[in-house]
Amino acid sequence: MFDNLSSRLEGIITKVRGKGRLTESDVDEMMQEIRTALLEADVNLTVVRSICNRIREHAIGATRSTALDPGQQVVKAVNDELTRALGGETLVITYASKPPTVVLMAGLQGSGKTTNSAKLAAWFKAQGRNPMMIGADLQRPAAVEQLRTLGRQINVPVFSDPEDPIVTAAKGLEEAKRLGRDVVIVDTAGRLSIDTEMMEQVRLISGAVNPDYTFLVIDAMTGQDAVQTAEAFHNTLQIDGVIMSKMDGDARGGAALSVKEVIGRPIAFASTGEKLDEFEQFHPDRMASRILGMGDMLTLIEQAEKAFTEDQAQAAATKLMEGQFTLDDFLEQMQALKKMGSLGGLMSMMPGMPKELKNAKIDDDDLKPVEAIITSMTAEERTFPTIIQGTRRARIAAGSGTTVADVNRLVKQFGEMQKMMKKMGMAGRPGKGKKGKKGKGGQKMPKGLPLDFDPAGAGFDIPGLPGMPGIPNFPR
């Protein structure tokens, strides 16, 4: 998601970047395009206006400026505005001093409250907490059953009482205290923001459990209405944060931008897939640079740290640089990589990726034939792929359910990649090469990074990455 918005903005920005002088008509034209790009991304009209006005002021300033490259100033203005609109800080959960910490989930029908209740519970569990869920959606048939099933999958208890949602919430809270659970998540029925009766009900539920956090679940595909809905819920419930659901689609995420701007509450979490662990904290500053196509190295590093152990990585990287990287190593790393998330998601976080690659829809299942081919090889073949000729090729193809041409292509590609990596290992040992551009302002260092590591610069330090010169016949 956000990809479409980023590519449109990139296009606009490329036009002005490097212009020696900006005229007012340049600015007018650019503002028109930025406006359209934001509207097509479902950013709320009111928000579009205020963002555009502020960018315009900067841009007009740039036309009068004698400084070098006024285009660059405009780029900075756009970046600053987006970061501001998305909100600066990541929401940090403060647990109640007297447990349990109570979380109330609210939203329209079908926004994903039940699924996200379970995802949030799983997230709390991963933080070392003992969550419990309360099913207070007695409206939709089988909603409680759905919550119970999800609860079983993540091993989190679910409380519900068919009597009445308010009673359920109150009783559930007592039950949680009795069981000594330290986090309670209350799932409520979906309701329209204009349904006064149902809004009153959720207010009463909120009164009964007195939540520490009230999260509004919003579908990333929502259009202009997102803001009205968020305002209405905020007026009734005092929203503390937003959970954006279905962020793995291709909606342009304007709803996310708008809601933050209008109710002044951050996007706390984002749901990025159908699996219960595809759910993460939302980092606004990182998202802004992702929108502008600057990549999101911090998230990438964090995910990599989770997926690879240091020793493994060290060994594999050494092999890689020396051209000793075998298909076996590749398979192993690929499997570790899967833990980091979907390939498409990873691609979108990498800086300097060519647009063709970024926009390609990559399904993780597309890698299955690759895995199948490699697993159909003997140990010897995996170590020395050059020995794969005629009959071996046919055997591998038959074994993996692919064609001889597929096998050929994989082997050839691998060989070329290996060569490229070897070159890179000799030419551009990190630490020796030029040390990236320092200090993209505002980026925070993740814990545990060595002092000289510059995340913003790291992307530029990988030789051969931008534009992929080393890969022959790369598909457009």
């Binding site: 994903g112 980091m340 691609m347």
Partner: protein
């Protein structure tokens, strides 16, 4: 050398290589029908046991489920405007603005553009609608502010009228059911729509069977079963994680055996960007015609709150399943559902039904004139 750097190089290498291979393979396979790719359909990591795992469940209610919502009898269809009128603010401001001026000015057009954009009509369609009007104003064909509003209303209605919006029901010989399939992204209201529609058709004297093809979402089949109970129809369901194609196929076979006329087939919500799930859906659509039935409607369910992404949804689902109509749900909220203008204009898929509330009678035929005039209520 920082270890983070190693992670990155590894990640980059593996990703770039993996993606490269995938793209090459894909380029090679262009021209072949997508579903033929050997990769697809089994992304959801659950065991699939066609045939044996689906069974006819006696409709059974959970005590939780029984309570609500209270089912009202069918409401007269004329309530469309009243229901939409609950949340009118989008156009009201613009209308007041336009009528408040003694002549048509640039501000009048700004007001109208704002109203259209806020209704999710989209930049392109709003631009087209207004540029037509600007020409007429320039030529003095329109001079009065109130005429400008009427002209816009007429223009918008004209974009929607003319399509055949009836649900296609063929009178096949007994044992040959009509199959209506429901597709869409997650959370738009597919299951609820089927529940309401089942009751309406039973009341109309048709025999109906529900096929619980959403085998992915937890308790989706229970939800459908609860609806089946309300209208007293059979439901065929499989185990959670079963192959949806085989569940729906079984449903159709069962309907044929019992000489049931109409099968309403539910499918799991899926984002149109997940090609493996879209391939799965294509398979469901193909398999549904392998047995005794014919798919006479494939309805895309879209939530009225959906923004510009709705057009992409319609295009992608349309390509995979040959969508024959749209069901626009949740139109009783504050959202206006303006995305249907793009869907109808650009893709030619007619809106057939709209959902305007929670009760069974709140799923009604789409009436373009009422839809547009409700926006313009003065």
């Amino acid at each position: 050398m920082g270890s983070e750097f190693l992670f990155l190089i590894l990640a980059v290498f593996v990703v770039v290589f993996g993606v490269g291979v995938v793209l090459l393979n894909r380029r090679k396979s262009v021209g072949q029908p997508a579903p033929g790719r050997p990769v697809s359909t089994q992304a959801r990591p659950l065991v699939s046991q066609p045939e044996s795992d689906s069974h006819v469940a006696a409709p059974q209610l959970d005590s939780v489920v029984e309570e609500e919502p209270t089912v009202e009898e069918d409401l007269p269809a004329g309530t469309f405007r009243e229901r939409l009128a609950k949340a009118r603010s989008t156009f009201a401001g613009a209308i007041a603005g336009v009528l408040g001026r003694s002549a048509i000015t640039d501000e009048s057009f700004d007001d109208l553009e704002e109203a259209l954009l806020r209704a999710d009509v989209g930049v392109a369609i709003a631009g087209e609608l207004l540029s037509g009007l600007r020409v007429k104003v320039a030529n003095k064909e329109i001079t009065e502010p109130s005429d400008l509003l009427d002209a816009l209303e007429a223009e918008m209605t004209a974009r929607l009228v003319g399509a055949d919006r009836s649900l296609n029901f063929e009178h096949f010989e007994p044992g040959h059911p009509n199959v209506w399939m429901f597709v869409g992204v997650n959370g738009v209201g597919k299951t609820t729509t089927i529940g309401k529609l089942a009751k309406q058709h039973v009341d109309r004297g048709r025999s109906v069977l529900l096929a619980a093809g959403d085998t992915f979402r937890a308790a989706a089949a229970e939800q459908l079963t609860a609806w089946a109970e309300r209208s007293g129809v059979d439901v065929v369901r499989g185990a959670e994680g079963a192959d949806p194609s085989s569940v729906i196929f079984d449903g159709i076979e069962k309907a044929a055996a019992k000489k049931i006329e109409l099968v309403l087939a539910d499918t799991a919500g899926r984002l149109h960007t997940k090609s493996n799930l879209m391939d799965e859906l294509a398979k469901v659509r193909r398999v549904a015609e392998k047995g005794a039935g014919t798919v006479t409607e494939t309805l895309l369910v879209i939530d009225a709150t959906t923004g510009q992404n709705g057009l992409t949804q319609a295009r992608e689902f349309g390509q995979v399943t040959n969508v024959t109509g749209v069901v626009l749900t949740k139109l009783d909220g504050s959202a206006k559902g303006g995305i249907v203008f793009s869907i109808e204009t650009e893709l030619g898929i007619p809106v057939k039904l709209v959902g305007i509330g929670e009760t069974i009678g709140d799923l009604i035929d789409f009436d373009p004139e009422e839809f547009v005039s409700a926006l313009f209520e003065r």
